[in-house]
Amino acid sequence: MDILQVLADATRSAIGPVAAVYALAAIGLNMHFGYTGLLNFGQVGFMLVGGYGVAVSVSTFGLPLWAGILVGIACAVALALLLGVPTLRLRADYLAITTIAVAEVARLVYRAEFLRDITGGVYGLQGFAGGFYDLNPFPSGRYGFGWLAFNARDLWMMTVAWGLVLLASVLMWLLVHSPWGRVIKGIREDEDAVRSLGKNVFVYKMQSLVLGGVFGALAGAMLVVNQQTITPDQFMPQVTFYLWAILLLGGAGRTLGPVLGSVVMWFLLTASDSVLRQLTSSGVITFITNSEIGGIRHALVGVALVVLIVFRPQGLIGNRKEMLVNVK
């Protein structure tokens, strides 16, 4: 078995654009759950409206890319208001039920036949990302060294995506280390107590939902620009649960938790995939076919997550003391 190959694959994936996209979406989820205590099980819905905001604006209506991104953000704000207005006054579980349902309904609407002229229906849209790659300042060639080299296109994508992750992390750090963040964390602990001290809890929860949703939409936009194509069925509910796994793995309620979580998660996913592929192709394992590897690697990552939750419930960089305060 070629260990170097495994490491190379896993590292490329861990620092690649997809890991950045998931980190960005998980930062939004961290705003919701990690700091405000909102149970959002529909983060993929925000990614979907962000992705389609770009694709529909550019492909269908011929707008420039930046306008598409703004449309995606506006759609995320609208979705957050739509979700929040009826549910944020109710108990936390109602938001959870509503978000998972609305995200799935949104996917079905975007793939519906009657919207085919706009969204491309089940076939989705292509050819909207050109504007992004036209801006690429890197001359073509290979960047990096040996087994860890990227072409100019990937480098540009990674620069922008990780740049957004950095920007979002700085923004989050500033917010949660401010009096605003203190109120938000107070709401996570007990919203009635915060209300009794004169804070408008509903407005704070709404702000949190909108901001986290916008991060989700940006992640969706980056995801489809990276793929240069969009299809509705890539926004299945399991994407949300990857994001939850990333957040819990890294550590909820920590600025860098979702970033670290995404890097480690993609490293593990790709490493297990690479190992299994090498084992099957070299004939060491004969009872698994190549097509089954995808499922098995997810099962392996699932086991790893269970082990993590049992032995390190606060995540990789969470605060155990804080985590256990309520269970003593």
């Binding site: 401010s178 605003w180 107070g186 602990e189 915060v194 004169g198 305060v325 309520n326």
Partner: protein, 293 residues
């Protein structure tokens, strides 16, 4: 520590007849026809009630009398079916809990709500009113709110010192004992600068050794000019520190008066202990939360 020696407060109640719904010389809170039912059960039905400014008024009554419900209604944590109430001249109907608090009527909870994963100091600072940095955009204006934060921190330290929590200021609120949490809740409420403070069973679940200290803190609130309305079960506590007592039974005010009036009131004894009960020193069983759901 009888109320009769509390000169100033007792004077304010001079000449007030101990009858339900009696007018007070300078009421801070006036309740009119406030009603709330849950299904077929009328939990609260108060015709008229006034709370005198600058006094300690106790709200007592047997389990299920509607004390906590009345508290929730007055502080905007529940909606009335009918009636209206005024606080300091403003009508409070339809205002959410946070708006009521901003007007100067701040409540605490029967089951203490310390924000457990924040430090004691963060609990205090959170409560400070009118912070620039607590608005989303204001949060980025760090130099602007830094000064405010320092002033609030100083005020918080004074309050924590007064409530003997200063040594704990950097600890998680979740690590405090039950009694300390009650103290923190009271100190935190004071950060809002309330003119009236509503305490829902401040002694519930508190170590008896701490009760005396809590009582002194409540008296101090009154002595610095605030109005205190509190729900409590422990009769000795109520008689000792209250300037005025309001008795609620089945949602209605059945009696009010000075502690000496209430002690002698046959209706109260009947309502509290059941007619024919003779063990007048017996405390009723603690409210298991049924009255406020």
């Amino acid at each position: 520590m009888s109320s009769d020696v509390n000169g100033a407060a007792a004077d304010r109640m001079a000449g007030v007849e101990p009858v339900p719904g009696v007018a007070k010389p300078d009421p801070i809170l006036v309740v009119d026809g406030v009603r709330r039912s849950f299904g077929g059960l009328t939990a609260v039905d108060v015709d008229h009630l006034e709370v005198q400014r600058g006094t300690i008024t106790a709200l007592i009554g047997p389990n299920g009398a509607g004390k906590s419900t009345l508290f929730n209604l007055l502080t905007g944590f529940d909606r009335v079916d009918a009636g209206e109430w005024h606080f300091d001249g403003t009508r409070l109907n339809g205002l959410g809990g946070h708006r009521v608090a901003r007007r100067g009527m701040v409540r605490t909870f029967q089951l203490t709500k310390a924000l457990t994963r924040l430090t004691v100091m963060e609990n205090m600072l959170l409560a400070a009113p009118r912070q620039t940095g607590e608005r989303m955009l204001g949060a980025f204006a760090r130099p602007v709110w830094r000064a405010q934060e320092a002033a609030n921190r100083e005020r918080a330290e004074h309050l924590l010192e007064r409530f003997k929590l200063l040594a704990k200021k950097d600890e998680m609120a979740g690590s405090l004992s039950g009694g300390q949490r009650k103290l923190l809740e009271m100190a935190r409420a004071l950060m809002v600068e309330p003119s009236m403070i509503m305490l829902d069973e401040p002694m519930a679940g508190v170590n008896p050794a701490l009760v005396q200290s809590l009582l002194e803190h409540i008296t101090a609130l009154r002595d610095e000019g605030r109005t205190v309305l509190f729900v409590e079960h422990d009769m000795d506590v109520i008689m000792g520190i209250s300037d005025w007592i309001v008795v609620l039974a089945e949602g209605k005010v059945i009696a009010e008066g000075r502690p000496s009036d209430i002690r002698a009131d046959q209706r109260v004894i009947d309502a509290y202990l059941g007619a024919g009960h003779d063990d007048s020193e017996q405390e009723p069983p603690t409210d298991s939360g049924g009255s406020h759901e």
